[in-house]
Every structure is written in C-alpha cells, then in structure tokens.
Amino acid sequence: MNALTMPIADGWTIARRNTRKIRRSPDLLGSAIMFPIVFVLMFAYVFGSVIDVPGMSYREFLLPGIFVQAVLVSAQVTGYTLTLDLQKGIFDRFRSLPMAPSGVLIGQTVSDLLMNLASLVVMAVMGLIVGWRVHTAPHEAVLGFGLLLLFAYAFSWFTATVALALRTPESFNNIATTLSFPLMFVSNAFLDSSDLPAPLRVVAEWNPVSTITQAARELFGNTSAAMKTADAWPLQHAVPASLLWIAVILVVFIPLATRLYKKAVSA
C-alpha cells in the first residue's frame, strides 16, 4: 500500500468500526434521528399554525431548515463518541499499529457522513409525510442533497476539532449545546430572518446555517416570490456562498483537527 491508498483503506476500516458502534448504540442513534423528527412535528404543527410565511406553506419553508439542523444534531453525537474514545485506550491501540495516522479522523468524518445520509433520508421521508415537496428539476434536488452532505462533511471536521480540544464528553456536551442552539435559532432555519431586530438580523444573515438553508431552499424550490430574500451577500448568492463556507471550514478545520488529534493522543 502506498501513501495515498493507505489513509483511504485505513479510514474505511475506522469508518466501518464507527458505523457499527453507532448502529449498536440505540440511544445515540435515537437522539440523532428522533430529535429532528420531534422538531419537524413540533414546528410543523405547533409553530406552523401560528407562523405565517408569505406565499407558501410554512412546512415547505421549514424542511430545508430541519435538514440543516439534523446535521448539527448528528454532529453532536459523533463529537460525543470521539470524546468517549479519547477517554479509553483505543487510540493508543490505533497509534501502536502501522496504520496511517490520518486514517482515524478520515474514518471518523466518513462515518459521520454515512450517518448524516441516513438521517437525511429519514428527514426527507418525514417531510414528504407532512407535506414538503420538491418543486425543482430532479438534478437540482440532487444538488440540494449533495450540498447538504458536503456541508455535513465539512461540519464534522469542525465538530472533531471542538471534541479534540475539549477531550471530555461532559465538556463537549455542554459546549456543543451552547454553540448549536444560537447557530440554529439565530438563523433563517425556522423563521424569516428579516423579521428579526437589527443586530440579530445581521448575525442571522451571515450565519452559515442561514446560507446553507437558503441554498437548500433554492435548490428544492421551497421559496416564494412573495417573500423577499435579505440583501446580505451570502443570502443573495446562497449556493456559491455555501460552497465558499464549506471550503473555508475544510481548509481551516482539517489541519486544526489533525494537529489537535496528534496533541490529544500523545499526552
């Protein structure tokens, strides 16, 4: 095996291990999938009956936001399992083996991606049940899901960075919750961000969650002419802005996570 195939082969071995692990932890799998399902139902039926979006049904508006939210939720699960691994001797085992050191994080992020794919399928089916529809051409819809998965993959490098910096499951859970709630709610995921007061509105408009959500809405056709898109550049050019966000996250957090991994395991 050469320097190029080894990280891939080893990463795949680790990814298989992680997916098996998650499959066998019903509590983790449950929270990753159940949480967004509960959100779909709650927002669709409780908030949806109060919130009015001009020109379209709230559920159609909501679902792309829920897709992005599901990515944030499942990231919490995988970050948590990473900190659990750090507490045990398993990384010592890996590091004493002639495997590619990068294989561990590649495996971690690839298994995250598989889990996100599974949860996205569940969310999409759930959405179709409550009345969400794709109004664009099939290839655009595929691009929509592709963009969501790309974002999910990039985001899991961010999660891994946070997990490796904090190292304990308890502190990770605390920080993940305090970080993800503002990310999720100070955005356009659940409501029209242009209704927010000025400072919050600016934050929401530049929040990457809003950018990805807006891009997904455009690619699935869950937008309406009656609803004005905010003037902020990332929302006006949601798809390229999303790709830019994804690229920036990858460029910053792949090296950072790699460095923190080395530091965390060699202590």
Partner: protein
C-alpha cells in the same frame, strides 16, 4: 543484531516531573524482561516511548532494529502492544475487534478474518466471538486485548500491567497464556507491580524507581543482592512485640520490619541459623512467648522493599508494614 530492544539514556519530562531519568537497558532477542516498580516509577512511560506513543525528550531507543523516532512506521509493524486498560472497542464483538486490528496491520480482509478466528479459538473465546465485548468479563477482555497484540504475530511484544485488576484465577490463566507465547520465541517486555508475576514470567527483572533502573538481574540474583536470609518471627501478645523487636535488632543486618496487625517481625541477618538460635534463647529468657519463628530466603518483596524503600503492592494490601 541480538538485542530486540535497546534503550540508551531515555529521558521524558512532564513539566516539573521527570518520568524517565536517563533509563538505559537492552532486551536480548527471545527473552522476557519485567520492569518492576511502584505506580509512577516510569514503567508505562517506558512502554509508551518504546511503542512510539510518546516521543522521548532525550536519549534513543530501537525496537527490532528500528528507531522509535525515525522509523516509527516500520517499528509498529514489528510490535504488538497490550495496554494497562484493555484497549478494545466495547461495542464491537471480539471477532470484529481482532479483524479490525488485522486490517490496520494491512493483513488484508481475508487473512484478518482467518487470523481473528484462529486467535479467538486459541484464547478460548470462540463462544463469545460474536457478542459485543461490552458483555465480557474482565479476564475475557484482557484476553481479547492480548490477542489484539498478537494479530500480526509480531517479533516483539509489550504488555503493560497485563493482569492488574484481574482476580487470581484469571491472572493465573493469563500467565499460562503468556508463558506459552514466550516459549514460542517472542521477545517480551512486561511491566508489573506484582512480584510473583515478574518471578513467574521473566528471565530478567529490572527494578525501576523515579525513572531510573536501580537493579537488574534474574530473580535469584536480585535476591542474593539484598543479601542473607531473613528471620521471621510471630509473637502471641502485642505487648511483647517491642521486646521481641529489640532482641532481633541486635542481630539485624538491615532494617527491622514490624507488622503490628499480624504481630510479625522480619529482619535480615548474616548468620541465619546461629542468629535464630540466639534470638530464641534471648526471648525465652525474657519470657516472650513465640508463636512462630523461622528462617527464609529473601523474596522479591524484600528486594523491592530494600531497593525502593516502599512496599510493593499486590502482596497483601492489609499488611501495612512499618519500617523502623
């Protein structure tokens, strides 16, 4: 190249604490070296440096001819490590754990599977092979972990406190397994806090304290090094302990150890039989009733105590011996 492991002046510091303080040793191919020492002596740090998990701050070391810093990748292909706490994945089955390790040694899918089956059979885990490790007993976990170290059949093995926390029966069973491995010609570096374990498994024992080697030899050589025989005496009444201690102190060649809980006194003497005769005479004159008295060769426990100044764990945790 007859030494499987060489270490020259290894130094590792954690801030103010010096974990390894210029440790040097070699392990000839096909032999077993036990690192014996209390918690914090530097045993685990030594293993972590030699298995490339930790970079030394100073000195150099090779394993199977490969430098621990410069040749880490190739070195890892030649070693197997079984850690202090079982480094197996709880959610995976025994078979899946071993297969994964095989793949990460790059044995290929088919050989990894076959090797996992082989090892599970050898370690008497076939029945549990397809159950998650979560449900295994402590002894079974250690066996899976040890099997993990053997997946690639590496020439050099590192076992870091392989039996710590196991019950006596599981420990004895693991000793048998390790003995078989060693008989097959592997080089083994073992760390332990247990005298009997080092005595049982190792060709050579190195006593480590504060990151330095303070003695090395076979169990017998180490025992000779601390000299002479021991008089061990038990009195019937706690009130007589002090009288007996004073009588024994007159013949002592080293420290007198008293265990008040068991009314026992131990002392190293030069001329064993003669000293014992005189001590018993003195005590009879003083009217001290002796319940038990005897002469014995020093144990590794005595070696340890003499060399490090602290009591080894793993003998009898109840015996809080006072050195006076």
């Amino acid at each position: 190249m007859s030494d499987a492991i060489t270490a020259e002046g290894l130094v590792k510091r954690y801030g103010e604490v010096t974990a390894l303080d210029g440790l040097s040793f070699t392990v000839p191919r096909g032999t077993v070296l036990a690192l014996l020492g209390p918690n914090g002596a530097g045993k685990t740090t030594t293993v972590r440096v030699l298995t490339t998990l930790l970079r030394p701050d100073g000195g150099r070391a090779t394993v199977a001819g490969y430098d621990v810093v410069g040749d880490a990748r190739r070195l890892r292909s030649s070693i197997g490590l079984s850690g202090q706490y079982a480094a197996v994945d709880e959610h995976l089955t025994g078979a899946e754990n071993l297969e994964m390790i095989g793949r990460l040694y790059h044995l290929g899918a088919k050989r990894s599977k076959a090797r996992a089956r082989e090892l599970l059979e050898r370690f008497d885990l076939t029945d549990a092979a397809n159950r998650p490790v979560k449900g295994y007993s402590g002894g079974m976990r250690r066996r899976v972990d040890l099997a993990g170290a053997l997946v690639a059949d590496p020439p050099v093995l590192f076992l870091d406190e392989p039996t710590t926390g196991l019950d006596p029966r599981a420990r004895a069973a693991l000793w048998d397994t390790i003995s078989e491995l060693v008989a097959a010609g592997s080089t083994l570096l073992l760390t332990t806090q247990y005298m009997e374990e080092a005595d049982h498994l190792a060709d050579q024992i190195m006593v480590v304290d504060h990151g330095r080697a303070i003695a090395r030899g076979t169990a017998d050589e180490l025992k000779d090094q601390v000299g002479g025989s021991r008089i061990e005496l038990t009195v019937t009444d706690a009130a007589e302990l002090e009288t007996a201690r004073q009588a024994l102190a007159r013949f002592a060649a080293g420290a007198v150890r008293t265990v008040p809980e068991s009314l026992q006194i131990t002392v190293a003497v030069t001329d064993g039989p003669e000293s014992l005769r005189q001590v018993l005479g003195l005590l009879a004159d003083a009217g001290v009733r002796v319940r038990d008295a005897g002469l014995r060769r020093p144990t590794l426990d005595d070696v340890y105590l003499t060399l490090t100044g602290h009591q080894a764990s793993g003998t009898d945790p109840q015996a809080r011996e006072a050195t006076r």
